[in-house]
Structures are given as C-alpha cells and as structure tokens.
Symmetry: C2
Subunit: 337 residues, 2 copies
C-alpha cells in the first residue's frame, strides 16, 4: 500500500510508492533502454487493438459508438497500470510521534490523447485537442464527487527526459487527499494579494503583461500565453484565461475552443525554437471544494526540459535561469510556425 507522508518542517506531502518497480522503466535503468523501447509500436499499450494491455477504461470518446475496451475511440482514459496511489481503502490518517502519515489513497489515471501512435499533441487538429480538455474536465468532475480527495493534479510528461515512460502521447491525472505544497503556496500568495488589494494577482499579471508586451508569446480573445517575469526555467510559459476563473473544470465550450489553439501554437513555437524538446505541462487549478473563486486563477504552466541547466536548482530550491523571459518570448514570437 502506498503511503502519503508529511515533512514536519516544510509541511510537504510526498508519496512513498514502492509498488511501481515493475513499470516499463525502473529507476536503475539507463536512458539507452528508453530509446530502444520506443523503436517498436507493435506492443504499445496505448494503441487501438491493444486495449487489453491496459486496465479497463474509465472513459472513452467513441464518435461512432462501439464496445468499451475495443478500438474506435479518439480519447481514452484508463487507470495507470503502475499507480502511485490506490483508489480503494480509507485514509488511515495517523500520527507517529512528530510525523504524519496516511494511506496512499488516490486515483492515478492516464489520458491517452489520440489513437494514433505517431501523433504529436501540438500538431493535432484543434478539435481533437479540445477533446483532451473535455476528458480532463469529465474526469475532474467525476473524481470531485469522492470527498476523500482535495486536489486533482493534471499534467503531461512529453519525452523520456521529462519522465514519460511511453512514447504514445498521453497526460496523467492524480487525485490526492492533500493539496500539493506548490499549489498551497500559490493559494497563499493569491490570498495575500486579495487581502491587501482586493484584486486577483493573476488578473493583475495579465493586465501588466498585455500592456508591456515584452513577455507575450501568443494571445486570443480568451487566453494569453506569456513567459513569466521570474521564470525558474528557460522558455517556461504560462497560459492563462483572460477572464478570472479559479476552477478549470468550470470552463465552457467556448473556452476550450480557444484554449486548444493557443496551447498548440505555444507548443509549436517551443518545438520550433528548441528543436522539439522534452517538456512538462501542469494544470494549476483550485483545490476542490475550497472557496477560492475570488482570488485563485487557473492556468497551465509549460516547462521545456533542457537537462543541461538542471544541476543547480536540484535540491537547492534556488533557480538560475540563463535566458531572460523577454528574450525567450521574442524567440517564441518570431518563430516561423
């Protein structure tokens, strides 16, 4: 049984999950193995016709109908075969002297974004990217009913260097009974700002960035993509809805219709400038059931994984970034896509 443990100094929860040793790439294996593994698509568990290789599906979009766990789907959501957390059981919250632990209860799901093994999310038709957001939303709304969960983390690892263990493009979702420290810190920052100034800090950021223009990467009537003023990583990008909204899952159809093209455009610009880097994106949305409507503002953070700069901040918690966000934004804007 996985465990959630809290660091008593930092208040940070970590998942201790020892059952994942059997997953495709274990942590002693070299990266050569990863490259070799991707040579063959024959046994890709995310390809149509191989549905038996994954746990039974939770959700699938089948425009022409059809049986569950059979081909014909465009987006498919399955439990992670090597979950970091397990769904069944109670939380078993417990103190051990100074320390706090609970059972590693949670959901860990994989959103297979396309049936085509060779597809790249950024190059997919906008309509199909929208469907990926609908899948995120449908799963969040469903998992929200389970009152054990306090946060749903949606993220994408693309490329082996960013932690993807399978090449077929996919996202992941983890429902947690705790709020991740990084989100809790964002919430605190937003709360402090509204208490002092009665405004959402992200709305203020958007206003300033649209005025300055120096860190603007892309824009449409509903969304903006910027390089943040104090980026941790070179070419870090944030995509924010212009209208204030705390919960991703409250988004409407018209929002997703404009989120899809700006995400695709931003990723294509990044692919062009950085020669298709490995990357992560993380959906930052409000913790579940919290009254954050006034002051939190959901967004997506995109982080290209340029491994050669990763040494310093590893462990120090302090970031040195060799590229200004203004230079990064200019390169991204100027990219021919």
């Amino acid at each position: 049984m996985p465990e959630l443990r809290r660091d008593p100094v930092m208040g940070r929860w970590v998942i201790i999950s020892t059952d994942r040793a059997g997953r495709p790439r274990d942590f002693y294996q070299s990266s050569h193995g990863a490259a070799a593994r991707q040579a063959s698509t024959a046994l890709c568990p995310f390809c149509p016709g191989q549905e038996r290789l994954t746990p039974k599906e939770i959700l699938a979009y089948r425009p022409q109908g059809g049986e569950p766990n059979s081909p014909g789907w465009t987006v498919r959501v399955v439990p992670n075969k090597f979950p970091a957390l397990q769904v069944e059981g109670d939380l078993g919250r417990e103190g051990i002297g100074l320390y706090d632990r609970m059972n590693g209860i949670g959901a860990h799901e994989v959103i297979i974004e396309t049936s085509e093994h060779k597809d790249n999310l950024a190059d997919m038709p906008s309509k199909r990217i929208e469907d990926v957001f609908w899948a995120y939303r449908d799963r969040i709304l469903d998992l929200k009913k389970d009152l054990r969960f306090r946060y749903i983390l949606v993220f994408k690892n693309h490329g082996a260097a960013a932690g993807a263990t399978l090449e077929h493009t996919h996202s992941q979702l983890i429902a947690l009974p705790v709020v991740p420290t990084s989100v809790a810190a964002e919430i605190e920052g937003c709360r402090a700002h509204i208490e002092q100034r009665e405004r959402c800090i992200y709305c203020d950021i958007i206003r300033q960035e649209l005025g300055d223009g120096d860190r603007l990467v892309a824009e449409n009537p509903e969304f903006v993509c910027i390089t943040p003023f104090a980026p941790r990583f070179p070419f870090e990008m944030w995509i924010l809805p212009k209208r204030h909204a705390a919960f991703f899952e409250d988004s409407q159809k018209t929002h997703f219709e404009l989120l899809a093209p700006i995400l695709a455009e931003s990723l294509r610009r990044m692919d062009r400038v950085l020669s298709r880097p490995a990357f992560n994106y993380i959906l930052h949305t409000s913790p579940l059931h919290e009254k954050t409507n006034e002051f939190y503002h959901w967004h997506i953070e995109v982080i290209p994984k340029l491994t050669q700069v990763a040494g310093f901040e590893w462990g120090t918690g302090f970031y040195i970034n060799p590229v200004t966000p203004e230079d990064a934004a200019k390169s991204l804007r100027d990219a021919q896509i």
Copy 2:
C-alpha cells in the same frame, strides 16, 4: 548584469544570468560532450600548475607556505569564472508595476577541495575533508561582513548528471541578497514549531530518529545521518549536528573533526549501494544576521541524482518516491564499506 527577480505569487527569487553562456557546458550541448571533456586532465583549471586558468584566488591553504596562485595548496577558493551573480555594484532594488527586481549582486565562488584531480571527497582522509569545512567557514565569516548579503548557499554538484561541469572535485558558494524560498519555508516551519511547543523541530526529529533507529544511517558523538521520514528522493540523507546550532559557521574544531568522518561514511555507503551516483549536497544554515538561534538547526542534505525518477516532480512540486526511507537506511547501513 545579472538580475534577481521575484515571482509575485510565490515570493520566489530567481537569478536571471545570461552571461554564463560561455561556460564549459552550455545548455544546448548534449551530455556526450560532457563525457568527452573529462577524458583529459591536462587542461583542468582546478589542477596545480594551472592556477592561471582560474580568476585570482580568494583563499588557499598552503601547509608549506608559498605564493598565491601557485601550486602547494591543499584547498583553494576562487571566484567562479562564469558567475551567476556579480560582486560589484549596488542592489538597485526596484519595482516594475507588480514585479520586484534587483541587480544580481552576490558572490559566486568555487571551493576546490583537493589538488589531486582524481580524488573523490568521500575517500579523502578525514583531516583533508575537515579543511574543506574550514574553507566553507572562513568564506562565510568573510562574506558575512558584507551587509548586502542575506544568505550564503554552500553546495556541491558531483557528476555531470548533478550539474557539475568539471570533474575535479569542488563545491560552490553563492552569497545572495535574498533568502532562498526553500530556506525561508524551513525557517517558517521551525518558527511555528517553537511557538507551539517551545522546542527546536530538528532536535525533536533527532530524538525520534535515535529512538526509532529505522531511518538511521550513521552516528557519532556529535552527528547523526538519517534518511528523512518524508524524503523527496530515493536515498535522500540528512546529516545533523546532535547539539542544537543554527549557524554552520559557529562550529568548533571538534565539530568538524566529527562531521568529516560521518559525511565521508555516508557518501561511501551511498556510493556502494548506488554504484557511485551523481549527487548534490546542500548546506542548510541560518540566514545571516537573523535571530534564529533558538529555533533553526543547520544540517546538510544529500541527494543522489537517480535521473530516471526525476520526471514526475519536475514542475509539479509534488514528489513520488519509489523507495521507503526505512529500506534506503537499511541498505545504507548494511553496505560493506
């Protein structure tokens, strides 16, 4: 001129330093380059006889005496040739709308731990490891006089995967005009604990760990090495002084005489279990000039860099650790060294 910028939501300062592009490994270069570079020691700027290849030394221990910037030293401290910050200038603190910035003022130094290119810190005689701590201490005490600085970060990157750009064993020191977020969060955690319970939280941790024994890696009369209860990374280790002390630089000779062997032993155990991994260690010590004596407790955090598990937490701020600290501690204790 490098810049320090503050993220308005998280309160996190980052260094934007574009002048480092000329350093040995730039961030577009592949890791093959790194391996090739280490084949030759002829041009190692940290080897005796090549002193002209570094900026002029700040400090050196020469047991037999001798001229500065000539051979005969055992430990040598030089400015980083590709500094992330620059020493000269004023802070130029400034608000830009919502945002805060200041000039990238600070010191960035390299502590060359030995004159022998092939030495490995963990295998050096205890006396010579002590000298490395004396160099840390001497530099901290000197830099502390500069009232622009609020924190001195001492850390070691060992191995290319951990960010070391040169093979010859060395540590780094960065004096900062701000307190890193991770340290600020530790200070807050310690402060909350003492306010509630009138005790140092790290003293409490040490007491519990010595009682439990499950996460104990090594121990001597002055120090303890443990795997923390909620580790972010597999085989993460913390080395703490048993006696309460907030400031590393206040350590006495007898402390360093016992810190050297426990650090060496812990690293040798890690080398044995993980086949000499790349690693970082980071000295966590009190911010300068702050009244943290009662509640902060300096320590060293050691993090082996097992790259294959680094995918998930990258950017999410949430850690999944596939190895329990109890299993890690047992392997480390059982290692034949």
